[in-house]
C-alpha cells in the first residue's frame, strides 16, 4: 500500500497541472496582502464606517490575524475548484490516457488501488491547505504583525485576545481540511464514471454550487434537507471564531460559543467523505474497463 501511495503522489507531483493550484493560491494571497498593505486603512474605514461613531477602537486592527480571516472567507469558496482539478482526475484521467488498464492488471485488488489513489488525493488536498495556511496565516503575521483580533459579524462584533487566536486558526484549518477532503471524495467518486477529466471536474463544481444554493436558500421546504447537505457545513470553520460570554457579558478566553455545531458539522462532512469513498469502491469494483 505504501509503495502504491508513493507512486500516486509521484504521478501527481510530476504533472504541471498540480502546480496551478499552488500558484493560484500564492498569487491570490499575494495580491490581497499587497492591496491591504498598501491601502488597508481605506478598507478598514469602509468596514468600520457604521461603528466609528459608537465604538472607540484602540490598537492595530489590521493585523495578520484579521488579514488571514479575510482571506479565508474569500478563498475557501474557490479552493474546491483547485481540489477538483486533481481529485476528479484521479481515475478519469487514467482512463483517458489508457493507463487505468495497466494499473488494474498489477497484483493489487481494485479496492487497494482506489484506497491508494484516495489517500494520495487527500494528501494533495492537505498539502494545498498547508500551503494556504503558510501564506495566509504565517505570511500575514510576518507582514502585518499580530494583535487582538476584531471581527465584525452580521449583527455583532467579536474581540479576541491576541493570545486566544492562534489555536482557533489551527482548529479552523483542521476543519477546512475535513471540508476539502469531502470535496475531494466527491470529485473522486464522480471520476469513476467518466473517461475524460473535464466532465468530473465540472460535475464536482456543479454539485457544490447546486447544494450551496440549496443550503443558503431561505425557503422552508428546503429546511428539512439543509442539515444533511455537506455544503451547509463547509463554512463551519467560522465557528472557531465565535466566543462564549459570561453573565457579565465578558468574553471567556479559550471558549467556543457553539462547539456542538462544529462537532455536528464535522460529523456530517466525515459521513459524506466515507459515503463517497464507499460508493466509489462499489461502483469501481464491478466496472468493466473498456478504455
Amino acid at each position: 500500500m505504501f509503495s502504491l501511495v508513493q507512486v500516486e503522489l509521484y504521478k501527481i507531483f510530476k504533472r504541471p497541472r498540480t502546480y496551478i493550484a499552488f500558484g493560484a493560491v500564492a498569487a491570490l494571497i499575494g495580491i490581497i496582502q499587497f492591496g491591504l498593505k498598501l491601502d488597508g486603512k481605506s478598507y478598514l474605514d469602509f468596514m468600520l464606517n457604521d461603528l466609528s461613531s459608537s465604538l472607540e477602537i484602540d490598537g492595530k486592527i489590521l493585523n495578520g490575524y484579521l488579514v488571514c480571516y479575510v482571506m479565508l472567507q474569500l478563498l475557501l469558496v474557490h479552493v474546491p475548484l483547485l481540489i477538483a482539478l486533481i481529485a476528479a482526475d484521479m481515475i478519469s484521467g487514467e482512463a483517458n490516457m489508457g493507463t487505468l488498464r495497466l494499473l488494474l492488471i498489477k497484483p493489487y485488488s481494485r479496492t487497494t488501488l482506489l484506497l491508494a489513489k484516495f489517500i494520495a488525493a487527500i494528501i494533495y488536498t492537505l498539502m494545498l491547505l498547508v500551503w494556504l495556511a503558510i501564506l495566509a496565516l504565517f505570511g500575514s503575521m510576518l507582514l502585518f504583525g499580530t494583535d487582538d483580533m476584531f471581527l465584525l459579524k452580521t449583527s455583532y462584533v467579536v474581540l479576541l485576545k491576541e493570545s486566544d487566536v492562534f489555536w482557533r486558526y489551527i482548529g479552523a484549518f483542521g476543519f477546512a481540511a475535513l471540508a476539502m477532503t469531502t470535496v475531494a471524495s466527491l470529485g473522486f467518486f464522480l471520476s469513476v464514471f467518466a473517461e475524460n477529466s473535464i466532465g468530473p471536474i465540472v460535475a464536482t463544481m456543479s454539485v457544490i454550487v447546486f447544494f450551496t444554493i440549496l443550503s443558503t436558500l431561505n425557503i422552508p421546504i428546503f429546511n428539512i434537507i439543509k442539515p444533511y447537505l455537506f455544503t451547509t457545513h463547509m463554512i463551519g470553520w467560522k465557528e472557531f471564531f465565535d466566543i462564549k460570554v459570561n453573565d457579565s457579558n465578558e468574553a471567556i478566553i479559550g471558549s467556543i460559543q457553539n462547539p456542538d455545531k462544529i462537532i455536528k458539522a464535522a460529523l456530517v462532512l466525515f459521513v459524506h467523505t466515507i459515503g463517497f469513498f464507499v460508493a466509489t469502491v462499489l461502483v469501481f469494483r464491478k466496472k468493466d474497463i473498456l478504455s
Binding site: S3, Y10, G98, T99, I105
Partner: protein, 309 residues
C-alpha cells in the same frame, strides 16, 4: 503438456442485445506462442480483457496457472505481463520514469542500471530520459513491451502488438516474440487480425469470429501447405473450369466454391508452377493464380468445410 490458460464456456454480453464473446473455450499450453486470430470486432480484445480481469465475464470459467482467476487474481497477475491494444503510458513522464513506476507497481525493486538495461533491450537506451510524448508510435510500443516485461512474467498477453508499426517495427516485435518463447521459455498469447503475422510465430492458434470459436489447433496442421487453396482468374472462367475438369487437376477442383468469376483448387503449394504451366498449355488465358493466405481467405477456406464449434 500443462495448460497455462484454460478457458471454458466464456461469454460476455454487453446489455441484452450484444454478445461480444459467445461460449468460447480454448487452452494455451506452457511454452506456446498462441495466436489469437479474428477480424476487427471478433471479440479478441474482450477475451484478453477478461483474461486480465479488466472485464467481468457474463458466464464461463478462466483458469490461469491452474488457478481460478476470480479467486486468485493477485497471485496470477504477479506472473503475467500484457500489452493491451494501443500502448498507454504517462506521456508527461520519461521512458525511464514510466518503467520505474511499473516496476514498483509490480512489486519488483529494480536498480537504475537494471531499468536502463531493459530500455536498451527494446532499443530505447538513448531516449531513456526523454518525455514519452515526444515518442513515435513504434517507440511507445517498444516501451509498452518493456513495461509488460518488467516483472519477468511467465505468461505474456499481447493484444495487436504490431498495430501502427512500420515493417521494421513489425519484424522487431516478431523476433521479440520468438526470442521470448524459444530463448526464455515464456508462454505468449498474441492477438492479431493478420494471418501473415500469426503464421510466422504461432505454434498453436485459434480463430474466432463474432465471438465464437471457428477453429483451434496446431499451426503446422492448420497452415498445411499441402492443402493450400488457390484462386484462379482467367479470361474465360467457364471454359477454364471445363478444361480443368477434363485434366489431372479435376479431383482437386473445389466445385462448390468455383463460379464464373473465380476458380478454386486445392493443392500442395509446390505444384503451383505445374498448374500454371498446364493452364497455359491448355490455351487458358491466365490472369492470376493466387494462393489464399489472408485471414479473410482463410475464413472462406475453413467456413466452406467447417461449422462454428
Amino acid at each position: 503438456m500443462s495448460s497455462v490458460i484454460q478457458v471454458q464456456g466464456l461469454t460476455k454480453k454487453f446489455g441484452q442485445q450484444f454478445t461480444a464473446v459467445n461460449d468460447l473455450s480454448f487452452s494455451v499450453n506452457k511454452g506456446d506462442v498462441y495466436g489469437f486470430l479474428g477480424q476487427n470486432g471478433a471479440g479478441k480484445s474482450t477475451t484478453i480483457r477478461m483474461l486480465l480481469s479488466l472485464i467481468e465475464p457474463t458466464a464461463g470459467d478462466i483458469e490461469i496457472f491452474g488457478l481460478p482467476l476470480s479467486a486468485n487474481r493477485s497471485a496470477i497477475m504477479q506472473k503475467v505481463g500484457a500489452v493491451i491494444e494501443k500502448p498507454a503510458m504517462y506521456e508527461y513522464l520519461t521512458a525511464y520514469q514510466n518503467l520505474k513506476i511499473f516496476s514498483a507497481l509490480s512489486g519488483v525493486s529494480k536498480k537504475r542500471q537494471q531499468l536502463l538495461h531493459e530500455l536498451e533491450v527494446v532499443g530505447l537506451a538513448t531516449r531513456a530520459h526523454d518525455l514519452v510524448r515526444t515518442f513515435s508510435q513504434g517507440m511507445k510500443q517498444r516501451l509498452a513491451i518493456a513495461m509488460a516485461m518488467v516483472n519477468d512474467p511467465e505468461l505474456i498477453l499481447l493484444d495487436e502488438p504490431t498495430n501502427g508499426l512500420d515493417p521494421q517495427g513489425i519484424a522487431d516485435i516478431r523476433n521479440l516474440i520468438l526470442s521470448l518463447s524459444r530463448n526464455q521459455g515464456k508462454t505468449v498469447l498474441v492477438s492479431s487480425h493478420l494471418l501473415s503475422e500469426i503464421e510466422q510465430v504461432a505454434t498453436r492458434l485459434i480463430i474466432i469470429d463474432k465471438g465464437c470459436k471457428l477453429v483451434e489447433g496446431d499451426s503446422k496442421e492448420l497452415f498445411d501447405t499441402s492443402k493450400t487453396v488457390v484462386s484462379i482468374q482467367t479470361l474465360d472462367n467457364k471454359q477454364a473450369s471445363e478444361l480443368l475438369l477434363q485434366s489431372n487437376w479435376a479431383a482437386q477442383l473445389l466445385l462448390n466454391r468455383t463460379s464464373d468469376k473465380e476458380i478454386f483448387i486445392q493443392l500442395d503449394e509446390k505444384h503451383l508452377p505445374s498448374l500454371h504451366k498446364n493452364l497455359v498449355e491448355m490455351g487458358v488465358g491466365v490472369l492470376s493464380v493466387k494462393p489464399m493466405h489472408s485471414l479473410e481467405d482463410y475464413f472462406l477456406q475453413i467456413t466452406s468445410t467447417q461449422k462454428y464449434v
